[in-house]
């Protein structure tokens, strides 16, 4: 959806991930970019150059925070130090919403630093939703959860991934960051129809969309964010926009990062779909 309560009633366009190889280009050339997404953990620090650069970026651009280690789905309670640092950063960036993944990655205080898949059970949905509420209540801005790419499914699962996403979002009353590349990757790894997934997501909860590239191996696809977006993912994105309307969209490119212009040009390809959505809305 365009502006809604899960993205702070904003109407952002096409953004890209803020990555260090592009800092110099952005700060010296000041390219026109709708918004940047930052990885929260890279800036949840006490001082130094990263925060100085972030402040310079904030002077000229809109920034949205995206986390990688809140682990909404971990059975353990949120780490208080993590929450405290996250809130400090939220106050600095004034991000209208905050996203992190529908996954787990830590247990008993040990961190894997990976986005591990959830078992799709009602117990997991209840625990995850509770944690999302706890985080949102602490940081006091809307939260959106992102579907992850996965390479394994659990015997204990009681529902499909999209049913689990919907169950969690309903219970937590939170937003969804719909990653269409992740849907595509998981659909290939687990043999489901990605369009069924996109068609099942509650449109009114979608705060933002992610697009990205991935790597294909013999038996599976890995979510590597090191390639341009492939056509099947663009088609899936097109369907998502058809359902959701003009939605804030972000291209992730995290490895083998090309020039700023190449990344931005790739992201701007989303315009052909967004333009149709705007036209449809006007009509």
């Amino acid at each position: 959806m365009p502006a809604n309560r899960f993205n702070g009633h904003t109407d952002y366009g096409i953004g890209i991930g803020l990555r260090s190889p592009h800092y110099h280009h952005i700060l010296t050339r000041k390219p026109v970019v709708d918004w940047f997404e930052i990885i929260s953990e890279n800036f949840m620090i006490d001082g130094g150059r990263p925060l100085r650069i972030l402040d310079q970026i904030l002077e000229q651009y809109k920034v949205v925070q995206h986390g990688v280690s809140m682990y909404f789905g971990s059975a353990e309670r949120p780490n208080r130090e993590h929450l405290r640092r996250l809130k400090t950063l939220v106050q600095r960036t004034k991000t209208p919403w905050l996203s992190d993944h529908l996954c787990w990655g830590s247990v008993d205080g040990r961190y894997t630093h990976d986005l591990l898949p959830m078992p799709y059970t009602f117990e997991a949905a209840r625990i995850t939703a509770q944690k999302i509420r706890e985080v949102r209540d602490f940081i006091e801005i809307p939260v959106a959860v992102e579907n992850v790419s996965s390479y394994a499914e659990f015997h204990v699962s009681e529902m499909t991934e999209w049913e689990f996403l919907n169950e969690v979002a309903e219970r937590a009353d939170c937003g969804i960051l719909l990653d269409v590349n992740n849907i595509y990757v998981s659909s290939q790894n687990h043999s489901f129809d990605p369009f069924t997934y996109v068609n099942s997501v509650p449109a009114e909860r979608v705060a933002q969309i992610h697009i990205a590239g991935h790597s294909k191996y013999r038996k599976y696809i890995l979510d590597t964010h090191d390639h341009p977006v492939i056509d099947p993912v663009w088609k899936l994105y097109g369907r998502a926009i058809e359902r959701l309307g003009h939605t804030a969209t972000l291209l992730e490119w995290d490895d083998s990062i090309p020039s700023f212009d190449e990344v931005h040009d790739e992201a701007l390809k989303a315009n052909r779909f967004l333009a149709s959505a705007s036209l449809a809305a006007a009509v």
Binding site: G48, S69, A75, H82, S106, V107, T112, D114, H155
Partner: protein, 304 residues
């Protein structure tokens, strides 16, 4: 199976060390059958077994943490050599898995761990420990907290016998046996060169670097690792300079710190005041003193 139980099982499997050919073990070091663990929790599909699917996460975990660790400690790698460093890194990460939401803290326990496991560095233990201290201080200086700097007016009317000065949290004081600062700068310079060089050139440089580390002779240095204009610097200190700063950091008053530091100094008594004045002028210009009532304990402020 309950969520917590499943997550414990999977995390244990994911964090199990890989084989020497970087595959998932069929049997974990504690005797668990990894095939059994995988098939109990993960479904197979038409292309992959439960074991193969779990292995993706097992490999990703180790590739990620080892790569982050190596990125943080290129100097230690130069001291130990690539193969030994990689083995040491695996052993360290098995004993000290991440307990933080950020990979930045992965090496926070390396000094203590290496002290307890000297066999990894062998004859180069002291050199390796010095390098670990320096590289960890570098990480701390890079993004450590900057408190408001002390200004001359903050000192107006304060009795020097009672005055306690506090160092910025991002400043680390290191007393080292080896001049590892020079070695680390060489390693970094090499890395910059290697980014644009051929493989043959890279291999030659790697050998040169390891050989340089092996030849490094003990030569005690005193170092402040600090930040200026958001760049991290290694500043060599005189013995007395270090002693004053260390005493101040330990909570001694200004007078007591100066007195204890200069007690056995070879600097002539008539010259001492000029030295102290020059040092304080430099430290103040670098913004090392802060207005904090109580400076957070700098755990890395290490002495031998």
């Amino acid at each position: 199976m309950k969520l917590l139980s499943l997550q414990r099982r999977m995390a244990r499997a994911v964090m199990t060390p890989l084989t020497s050919s970087e595959r998932m073990r069929s049997v974990a070091p504690d005797g668990r059958s990894m095939r059994a663990v995988a098939s109990q929790i993960i479904k197979p599909n038409d292309r992959m077994t439960s074991f193969e699917r779990l292995e993706i996460y097992n490999r990703q975990y180790w590739f990620r943490v080892l790569s982050a660790f190596a990125e943080d400690f290129p100097g230690v790698r130069a001291v130990l050599g690539g193969r030994r460093f990689d083995a040491m890194a695996k052993a360290y990460l098995i004993d000290c898995p991440s307990q933080s939401f950020t990979l930045r803290n992965l090496g926070s326990r390396l000094v203590i761990w290496l002290q307890k496991h000297p066999s990894w560095a062998g004859e180069r233990q002291n050199l390796a420990l010095d390098m670990v201290r320096l590289e960890w201080a570098d990480i701390e200086a890079f993004d450590g907290l900057r408190e408001p700097s002390l200004k001359p007016e903050d000192l107006a009317g304060v009795n020097p016998a009672k005055l306690r000065l506090h160092l910025q949290p991002y400043v680390s004081l290191l007393a080292l046996r080896y001049p590892v600062d020079e070695l680390l700068l060489e390693v970094r310079k090499d890395s910059d060169d290697l980014d644009v060089a051929s493989n043959t050139f890279n291999e030659r440089h790697k050998r040169k670097r390891v050989s340089a580390a092996a030849k490094l002779k003990p030569s005690p240095i005193f170092l402040a690792v600090h930040r200026l204009d958001e760049d991290v610097y290694f500043r060599r200190l005189d013995r007395e300079e270090f002693a004053i700063l260390f005493a101040l950091h330990a909570g001694k008053s200004l007078n007591a710190a100066i007195e204890s530091a200069l007690r056995s100094s070879p600097i002539a008594v008539v010259d001492r005041a000029a030295h102290v004045e020059k040092w304080f002028h430099t430290w103040s210009a670098l913004g090392w003193f802060c207005r904090l009532e109580k400076s957070p304990k700098n755990e890395k402020a290490a002495s031998r």
